[in-house]
Amino acid sequence: MTNPPTRYSDHAVEQFVGRLLQLGVLIAAVVVLAGGALLLAQHGSSLAAFSTFRGEPDALRSIGGIVHGVVSFRSEAIVQLGLLLLIATPVARVAFTLVAFILQRDRTYVLITTLVLALLLYGLILGKA
């Protein structure tokens, strides 16, 4: 029924996961804020027209393209990097939960968590559904 008392108790894992989520959101928000401020400074007076869908250019919708844009200091790419970090935060949370279940030798939940992580990475990296 209960888990053997180890250093990696459910409670310890919960504390760590909570911190991880907060940190991820904080870092993402700072990056988005910096990119957004820069974006408005550069393109603030241009027209905002989003009523027709054109789709983002390749440079703003692939991980490689975003990283490339950040290196060349493009404000849109910096915002996208922040959003990418934000999307990655729950994924990192699942990855750490997986590690915790491995340390607890909880085979059933290692399997379940691996499945969730695989589904998330499939969406995030391959971008297919």
């Binding site: 029924m1 459910d10 919960e14 504390q15 996961v17 909570g18 911190r19 989520l21 907060q22 991820g24 959101v25 993402a28 928000a29 988005v32 804020l33 990119g35 957004g36 974006l39 393109h43 603030g44 007076s45 027209l47 905002a48 989003f50 009523s51 027709t52 869908f53 789709g55 983002e56 250019p57 703003l60 919708r61 692939s62 849109e76 915002v79 996208q80 959003l83 934000l86 999307i87 935060t89 729950p90 949370r93 699942v94 939960t97 059933t108 939940y109 379940i112 968590t113 499945l115 969730v116 589904l119 998330l120 499939y122 969406g123 995030l124 990296i125 391959l126 971008g127 297919k128 559904a129």
Partner: protein, 278 residues
């Protein structure tokens, strides 16, 4: 409208959505898409992309506190995330081929359902019932903190809850919402978890569910930086302030205000859906 005016107005609206969402416990995500499409005439796909991102921010921010207080049932959350992530990937695939008029009608119905649920008073049900086969096998039964110490509870109807979670995942991806209302329905009503555990575990799962489809939408070009950044920062700031002033706010009045806003948006979305105006 210039980009700077657009950003300021959208950030202001998103701030109100996040604030009201946190204070009423209904989440701000549900009103972000109607706000962007109806008020700012943003294309539905950009609106869904931006809304999903804001949903991840608020759910991860709030989940952190609940997880550490020990309300969240991490095992239940992880198990049901299998269903919500599969649902989210299916929903993201469907989003590309679903007519916008159908999405608008579906959105209107979910808004109406949210309004109905928010008016209905919540009752706590019996917590200890006969053991469930699946719950025993997956060790889902747990305890949660109450004024009188840690209260044990058991989990029921795991397969039915799992099925409804798949639906929650599909809706999350199709409409760019957290689907918290459907998740709580599955855990509180079907699986008989305590209400506080249901809402916090739902919040814990929302980020993962939204991340599954947000990843796909990023690659598909639905996430525009100029639309998403004021939405994300506005909703997050509103939700953080909401969590701070929750104990001093008149939540009953706010709930009525928010329910009114939701009903107006529901009618508008249904109208747009039936007339093909979105």
């Amino acid at each position: 409208m210039t980009a700077i005016a657009f950003a300021l107005l959208v950030a202001g609206g998103s701030f109100c959505a996040g604030l009201l969402g946190a204070l009423t416990g209904l989440g701000g995500g549900i009103v972000v898409v109607p706000m962007l499409t109806l008020l700012f005439h943003v294309d539905l796909r950009y609106a869904i992309g931006a809304s999903l991102v804001s949903v991840i921010a608020t759910s991860s921010g709030a989940a952190a506190a609940y997880v550490r207080e020990g309300y969240t049932n991490v095992r239940v959350g992880i198990l049901l995330e299998v269903a919500t992530t599969i649902g989210a990937l299916v929903g993201a695939a469907l989003a590309g081929v679903t007519p916008t008029s159908f999405l608008a009608i579906l959105f209107g119905l979910i808004l109406l359902f949210t309004a109905i649920r928010s008016i209905r008073p919540m009752h706590e049900h019996a917590l200890l019932t006969t053991p469930d086969k699946w719950s025993a096998r997956l060790r889902l039964d747990s305890t949660y903190p109450t004024a009188a110490g840690r209260q044990p509870y058991s989990v029921q109807n795991v397969p039915a809850g799992f099925g409804l979670m798949f639906v929650a995942g599909v809706l999350s991806a199709l409409l760019g919402i957290g689907s918290g209302i459907v998740k709580v329905l599955a855990m509180d009503q079907m699986m008989r978890l305590p209400f506080k555990v249901s809402t916090t575990t739902s919040n814990f799962m929302i980020g993962v569910t939204a991340a599954a489809s947000a990843g796909v939408y990023l690659h598909r070009g639905y996430i525009d930086p100029t639309v998403a950044f004021p939405v994300m920062l506005g909703v997050l700031a509103g939700a953080l302030l909401g969590a701070r002033i929750l104990s001093v706010a008149n939540t009953k009045l706010l709930r009525q205000v928010f329910t009114g806003v939701v009903i107006v948006m529901a009618i508008e979305m249904l109208y747009k859906g039936f007339t093909g105006g979105l």
